[in-house]
């Protein structure tokens, strides 16, 4: 029951060109900035938009392969949880869930019995007769999930399933969703812009930027070796593009780094912000990477202060508020920065 989507699709500004394979029983999170084409990818699989070239297949059945094949959405066995859920406002929670089975030929009674069971299973059996506008965000999300599961889909598509929830509800719904996804036998694609959701719910992640998959793999693979600024920002690390020769790394920005392990050719390097030390005066001792630079931007982030350094170094350093106060950091101030060679990880581009 594998889902394979390798296609190209143009829609306005968007030029979506992807190749994703999701094995049965696994969850692939598609992460990416707004406008990258995440929802369009799901719509193509669901059949509410046709692809221009390539093919989409589920469980060996071709769903869309221009020009010959296009299976209408109602004939695809796909369950979808939409952004904002899109529960039909004129139907009760129960009838929303029963809508799918009814449309696929179940009797009214059988559909409602099935719907009631599903609502109970996702924990909103008590809200069966409520109209969507009377439901809380968490309840609506559960009803939407029950509705998607009610047609016994072969694949599940979740479009930002948790983004409309407040922080408290989110934790709880995320935990429950994790349980339902573990029970689901088919492939699942979950679109999100929250790496925490991906971490908690997905087996694989695919990074979609401007219509292209820039990186895909297990969460470990992707986060340990970010290949784009977007991923580096997601996990909060510095990403340097450069060319290595031995233990010297020439960054594309013009800065030079000394690394511990020899490498050659085009490489990426990551440096954790906490590993970037700041000094008022030229540091003494071991660090082989030291620069005199300027503070471009200061940002208080929870209990850390993020300090963006001016180009060509261009790194982000992270210090405690206490350290920031002690160093009397201010935007535009000159500052010394240092990084130990052993704190820089390189890998081929």
């Amino acid at each position: 029951m594998t889902l394979r989507a390798a296609f190209r699709l143009g829609l306005g500004e968007l030029d979506l060109d992807v190749d994703v394979t999701v094995p049965a029983g696994t969850v692939t999170a598609v992460l990416g900035p707004n406008g990258a084409g995440k929802t369009t990818l799901l719509r193509a699989v669901a059949g509410t938009i046709a692809i221009d070239s390539g093919s989409i297949s589920l469980d060996g059945v071709t769903l869309d392969e221009p020009p010959a094949v296009f299976v209408e959405p109602e004939a695809r066995r796909v369950g979808m949880v939409h952004q904002d859920y899109l529960l039909f406002p004129h139907l009760s929670a129960l009838d929303n869930v029963a809508f799918g089975p009814r449309s696929r030929g179940s009797s009214s009674r059988a559909a409602r019995t099935h719907a009631r069971r599903l609502l109970d299973r996702v924990g909103v059996g008590g809200q069966a007769d409520a109209k969507p506008r009377a439901l809380s965000g968490g309840q609506a999300q559960r009803v939407a999930l029950a509705r998607a599961l009610a047609t016994d889909p072969a694949a599940l598509l979740l479009d930002e399933p948790l983004s409309a929830l407040d922080a408290g509800t989110r934790v709880e719904v995320r935990r429950d969703l994790r349980g339902y996804l573990a029970e689901f036998a088919g492939p699942t694609i979950m679109v999100t812009h929250d790496p925490v959701d991906a971490l908690a719910l997905a087996d694989h992640v695919a990074i979609l930027e401007a219509g292209r998959l820039t990186q895909a793999g297990t969460i470990d693979e992707v986060t340990s070796r970010p290949r784009s600024r977007y991923v580096a920002d997601l996990i909060g690390t510095n990403l340097v593009h450069g060319t290595a020769g031995g233990t010297v790394l020439h960054a594309d920005t013009g800065a030079t780094f000394t690394v511990a392990e020899a490498a050659s050719g085009a490489v990426f390097a990551t440096i954790a912000p906490a590993a970037v030390a700041l000094h008022r005066h030229e540091p003494e001792g071991s660090p082989r990477n030291r620069w005199q630079t300027r503070i471009e931007h200061l940002d208080l982030l929870g209990d850390r202060v993020r300090v963006r350094l001016a180009p060509p170094v261009g790194l982000v350093a992270e210090v405690t508020p206490a350290a920031a106060a002690e160093l009397a950091l201010g935007e535009g101030d000159p500052i010394w920065a240092s990084v130990k060679a052993t704190e820089i990880t390189t890998y081929p581009r």
Partner: protein
């Protein structure tokens, strides 16, 4: 009202009051002219009752035809990209601005017994529109349906299409999507459009008298009766006018918000 809200400029208010008076004065005048002692009598004469009944039958039928024919039409105008759609919309909405008497003349040209279509309908199916209730209904539908179409088309355009997509992904075929999702979602506008069309049909005069004639019990609806009585019995004409006036006012007041929002 919040005290910080600025008061409107005096000149604007004065002119607006004049405009309201322009509409209100004739209303008040007709109420004043009405002879309340004889209103009930004037409305219960056999002629008046016949006109009332006929008006009710014709206007309800016209509203029903508007919904039946106008809903698919509104859907096509809102959702498809047929070539020449602006032209089609123009043709459909034309009766809203056309003098109704011209509409009546056009209907005569198309459906009178001497026209090819009218002749054919009469010879094959025995249907005659001129000088018949069917003709009155047709004339009213011709004038009233655009009000329904424009209301429902607006609702179809502004509704969130993703609900229909969600229904399709759940397995609903096109007609199921239309009947179980689209129609319920635009139901308020369907009701508003139908009421508006009904009120317009109720007041229809020009197209009806031109096309269907003025025959008691068959095509003499309320407005036609008012016109006729004006020659002989002004009190009766005013009594009948009051009925039309009250009904129209009630419909408009109950619809005002919906109508303004959908346009």
């Amino acid at each position: 009202m919040n005290r910080a809200r600025r008061r409107p400029p005096a000149l604007v208010v004065v002119v607006a009051v004049v405009a309201v008076a322009f509409f209100a004065i004739p209303l008040v005048a007709i109420l004043q002219r009405a002879d309340w002692a004889t209103v009930v009598h004037d409305l219960t004469t056999p002629e008046a009752i016949a006109a009332l009944r006929l008006s009710l039958v014709c206007s309800v039928a016209a509203a029903a035809f508007s919904v039946l024919l106008g809903t698919p039409l509104a859907w096509v105008l809102a959702r498809t990209h047929v070539p020449g759609r602006p032209f089609v919309r123009g043709v459909v909405l034309l009766p809203m601005v056309l003098p109704p008497v011209v509409g009546g003349v056009a209907l005569l040209a198309a459906f009178s017994l001497r026209s090819p279509i009218g002749g054919l309908l009469h010879d094959t199916l025995g249907i005659q529109f001129t000088f018949s209730t069917a003709g009155a209904i047709m004339a009213e539908t011709f004038v009233a349906m655009p009000f329904y179409v424009i209301t429902v088309e607006g609702a179809l355009r502004s509704m969130d299409l993703r609900f229909e997509e969600a229904a399709a992904v759940l397995g609903a075929r096109r007609f199921t999507v239309f009947s179980r999702v689209t129609m319920p979602l635009i139901a308020p506008s369907v009701v508003a459009g139908a009421l508006l069309a009904w009120a317009r049909a109720l007041g229809e005069f020009g197209a009806t008298i031109t096309f269907a004639g003025n025959i008691a019990g068959r095509t003499r609806t309320l407005p036609l009766a008012v016109y006729l009585e004006l020659e002989s019995d002004q009190e009766a004409a005013i009594a009948l006018s009051l009925v039309l006036l009250v009904v129209s006012l009630v419909v408009l007041v109950s619809l005002r918000d919906r109508w303004l929002r959908s346009t």
